[in-house]
Symmetry: C2
Subunit: 279 residues, 2 copies
């Protein structure tokens, strides 16, 4: 669950997602859009339960699901049987996982698909904040007696012209806003340098790290990444922070995975169930 | 999960069933048959994940699912997409939830459907052990020099005739085996006395207790039972032990439900997640 600009975005929905959210006390009233990377069960099986529970909780807001086109067909029969009288609409938006493309946009956020390299068609997602308004310097607004109706444009960077025709440059009236944040989710995928230009410099990268590097052959067969490879991608893409995850069940002590990734990219953290990470 | 005569039977399969089993270290290699009471999500949504994981664990034994006929259609698309190359067969056996009928039988166990009273067609299940073989008294076998090939029939109750034509009654050669166990699962259902003759005297009854009796009206609307009603059924059916469950999420302290059922039927226990009950 990604929270950005007071909105929630759910990325993938494996079995038990709604149970975990309940355990964590996550409210979902700001969740309008779900993004599904690919049609493997561990990324999809929790969807019908989540939708069904939303129905029982009398959700009324539309729920948008961005996924490969086949998901709608897969969900169709289930929705018919288990969610016949939903008090809200479920709207599917097909995405082409083979293309880097803008797939969602609102007032403050853009989402792009990132083609992954996996056994089945799969895409990651890049979440990109739009620039925030600049901050008004209240004292200067008072000094130049700027009318309220001019403020929105000044927040966007416009200069102000006084009645006497004097231009007050925007830099005197405002201060810069926080830099827009960028978050990339890359799972499931084999090592692929093609994604580097897309995720270049993101504030936070989630990259799968299914195996240790000693399982490199197995990771290639199954088209997953090793922890070392996740770190290598993070380093080459000059991201600010790396979260690894999607570990094979064979690893009881996941710190080995963390250490392997850290050897490539120091600012790596271990993605763990029920944890919250600040970007 | 019911264990009976070294076999496992799974009754219903809500979301997260496989996760709970893993948490409890439950091995499923003796699970061949799953019984689904009705087609509401909280009894079905965990099925596809369970089957999918069995595939990854390279299960080879057939998996039998006993359910209303529509379940096969619901699962069909999902199995096609998510479980295309299962190394085992999934075999659906349709059951008619409106009939009390023998729906499964093997060497040692019989299972009957029990019509429930619910918003949608629904049946409970009665598991009934077949009588076990009588126990041989080793000393008597030696005394009468009974050949090994005669033993199986003697275990079933046959007398033995010596070469001299003397009849040795079975009661001298064997002792009685344990009484066959009977377990009934009744969920989801409104209060219904029609089930009493079917579950009469069972060793253990699981009966749903969604509400407290103060919510009697709501329980009738939704066709669920109150804890008091579950106790009343247990008392009238003279069962040996009652386990209640399927509580509405509104009850944080489920001991109130227990106390209400106990007022009707003393030997009641609270069904709880991840608990094991001996019958």
């Amino acid at each position: 669950m990604l929270e950005l600009r007071d909105k929630q975005f759910l990325i993938d929905c494996g079995e038990g997602t709604q149970i975990r959210m309940r355990q964590m006390g996550v409210k979902t009233n700001r969740l309008g859009h779900i993004f599904i990377s690919h049609l493997h069960g561990d990324h999809v099986f929790g969807l019908i339960g989540l939708i069904s529970s939303f129905g029982m909780l009398n959700r009324t807001a539309d729920l948008h699901i961005h996924a490969q086109i086949d998901l709608e067909k897969i969900m169709e029969v289930q929705l018919l049987y288990f969610c016949a009288e939903l008090p809200f609409k479920v709207i599917f938006h097909p995405i082409n996982p083979r293309k880097y493309a803008l797939i969602y946009e609102d007032r403050s956020v853009q989402v792009f698909s990132i083609p992954m390299k996996h056994r089945v068609p799969c895409c990651g997602f890049l979440f990109q904040e739009k620039p925030r308004d600049r901050h008004i310097i209240r004292e200067m607004i008072d000094l130049y007696q700027i009318p309220t109706w001019r403020i929105p444009k000044i927040k966007l960077g416009e200069d102000f012209e006084t009645n006497e025709g004097v231009i007050i440059p925007n830099a005197l009236l405002t201060t810069a806003s926080e830099l827009p944040k960028r978050f990339a989710y890359c799972s499931d995928t084999a090592y692929s340098e093609k994604i580097i230009p897309i995720i270049d410099g993101v504030d936070c990268l989630f990259h799968e790290a299914t195996f240790m590097d000693e399982e490199l052959i197995r990771s290639k067969q199954t088209e997953h990444s090793t922890a070392r490879q996740a770190g290598e991608i993070a380093r080459k893409a000059k991201v600010k922070k790396l979260i690894i995850g999607h570990y094979s069940a064979r690893y009881i002590n996941q710190n080995e995975l963390l250490n392997e990734a850290k050897a490539e990219f120091e600012n790596t953290v271990l993605g763990e169930d029920m944890m919250v990470y600040q970007i």
